[in-house]
């Protein structure tokens, strides 16, 4: 059944899917990659954002992307609060914070799931927008427009975040806290506040990512579980904390998944992300662009 046409199509759709994976992982690249917070509730926050977007779209007919932008400040505040609670109850208390932190974030993820079920029920929800359900045609080849939108927004989001972290004062402070917290403290800066701010940024990004999630496919309350593996895989494969690495790793993953789905059979697709992760870690333990 192999044809160049199919392969080319798979690569194009894979790049689009990969950029979408980058958008949903880039927040985790900051919170887990740079800040070392075992944030397994990241996908739950993402699904929560999708429901926020759904609510605004359903009640006020706001475009999902604008709705995503609208909830971004709220998610920033939510991130500040979540980190403060985590810091006070776990991180401050010492070395085994990592393990107990995972339990904390798993707990948060379950609470979010239950709250979504109580508020919205167990049914799946989707949004409406002019670009959902239509496609661009190039002869026989068609690309879903929602995928193109996700691609463009994801690319912009990742580039913006990369520029922010490398060019602005606060961005560089966040990188510094990731490299040497003690040194930052000696400079008179408060690493906890910087980390809290960074966690806020990582969570704020989810406003837009959540909008993309519900644009690409309908969401349901337990969808976060499907994304835990994928997002952590992208972030670790990228090299912890590398934003451009996240984009590259996500695109590699998207293309590989798409080629497998198209040419080799759908059953193999879930194995791909982890096989590639193991492969990359065997050759470069620090990840693709890790230091």
């Amino acid at each position: 059944m192999f044809s160049m046409d199919l392969l080319l199509g798979a690569v194009v759709l894979g790049v689009l899917l990969g950029c979408f994976y980058a958008a949903v992982s880039v927040g985790l690249s900051v919170s887990f990659g740079l800040l070392d917070v075992p944030h397994v509730a990241h996908p739950a926050f993402l699904v929560l954002a999708s429901y926020g977007v759904y609510q605004l779209n359903e009640s006020y007919d706001i475009d999902p992307l604008l709705a995503g932008l609208a909830i971004t400040p709220l998610f920033f505040l939510f991130g500040l609060l979540a980190y403060r609670v985590y810091y006070e109850t776990f991180e401050r208390r010492g070395s085994d914070a990592g393990v107990r932190g995972i339990a904390f974030f798993f707990g948060i993820a379950f609470i979010i799931e239950v709250l979504i079920i109580l508020q919205f029920g167990v049914d799946q929800r989707s949004v409406s927008a002019t670009y959902i359900g239509k496609s661009w045609r190039f002869g026989e080849f068609r690309i879903p427009i929602r995928q193109l939108v996700a691609f463009a927004v994801a690319l912009a989001l990742t580039v913006l975040l990369a520029v922010y972290l490398s060019k602005t004062f606060m961005g560089r402070a966040i990188r510094a806290v990731a490299q040497d917290e003690e040194a930052l403290r000696l400079m008179g800066a408060n690493p906890v506040r910087i980390k809290q701010f960074a966690f806020g940024i990582a969570t704020a990004v989810l406003g837009i990512a959540g909008a993309l999630l519900i644009i690409v496919a309908p969401v349901e309350p337990t969808l976060d579980r499907a994304y835990i593996g994928r997002t952590f895989c992208v972030v670790v494969m990228a090299g912890l904390g590398s934003i451009s690495g996240t984009l590259i790793a996500a695109i590699i993953l998207g293309v590989a998944e798409s080629i497998v789905l198209t040419l080799f059979g759908a059953s193999w697709a879930p194995a791909i992300s982890f096989a590639m992760l193991l492969g990359v870690l065997a050759v470069r333990p620090q990840g693709l662009l890790g230091r």
């Binding site: 044809s3 167990v122 309908p218 059953s267």
Partner: protein
Amino acid sequence: MKRRTFLGGAMAVAVLGQGSSALAQQPPIKIGMSMPQTGGLAGGGKASLLGIEIWRDDINAKGGLLGRKVELVVYDDKSSASETPAIYAKLVDVDKVDLLFAPYATVPTAPIMPFVKQRGLLLMGNFSFQVNSKVGHDMWFNNAPWGPADSWAASFLDLAQKAGGKNMALLTADQEFAQNLALTARDVAKKRNLPVVFDQVYPPNTVEFSSIIRALKAAKPDIVYVASYPPDSAGILRAVNEIGIGDDVKIFGGGMVGLQFAAVMSNLGSLLNGVVNYNTWLPEKSMYFDGTKEFFDKYTKRAVEAKVDPLGYYLAPFGYAMGQMIEAAVNSTKSLDQKGIAKYLRENEHKTIVGPIAFSADGERKETATLQAQFRGVKDKDIEQFRSPGKQVILFPEKLKTGDLISPFEAARK
């Protein structure tokens, strides 16, 4: 004389009074069940339970069964197979219920089959698929219209072949129910020498179906049989709409779970047009029997309060029908003897609001009444449209048919 009359009268009143209080004190007939009220099956479970509750209220308004009130003893099994064995043991040994109804769906029901067989208990099945095929319990009666195991795929392929389909593509979820359907579809195709040109099993959590649909399209199938689960059904239909499926496809659908529920139908809207899919009850004129309309009048009112599926076509009337069959059996045998009730259920045809029901030896329907219906003229974001006939035209079975297949699929989508 006056005093004697007075005494006589007083005694009569006392005896009568005693009599009526004895009637009132007769314990209720308890029907026990678990029902998924949380977890993945909750949406269906709650609608099914509401159907059963409406039957309970109707029968109690008529004076109950054998002059006793009917009471339901219901526990939430959280959609989990690990909860049900303990719940049913409790229902039988602690609550001492008189009769048992099964929970909605295959997964929670399967583990209680050995228990009811060992204890020789009657179990009224509630939409399980093939749970008794290996257990062979002779006191199991499924309310679902499935019928013989291969009839599901056979009816879809009948329609497809009549429309000129000569080869088939199979797209199925990697999940027990979908795989059961796929298995029978492959068998039927083999018996009919129908080549399978595409056969893919996709894993749960598949995010994006564009790539799969492109591969499917490249195989140029005439017939596309899809056995999918609710989260994926929407993704597949969306990708089909965007990527296209080719002009060769005569018929698309078959076993897509989720397209029976109001929320999903309303979400998908016009994307549903043209799809031929299974269903159990639809508001078409051939589907109304004694009491059907009255049932849905009550259901529609109570569904709002109970926050369950506002349409309730898929499960609720079959919950009610389950009660009707017990009502007929208990009234005819005039006892709660489970063996007697089972014998009655096996040997007779039962009139219900979902039509006549007769069972074969394995406790499934003698003949399938699973509908294959085609979505037509569906608009976006409108639940109410599904209440009127013509939105899902019944193509199979013959005696319930309300229209003919529009084929090819691309033409039917317009």
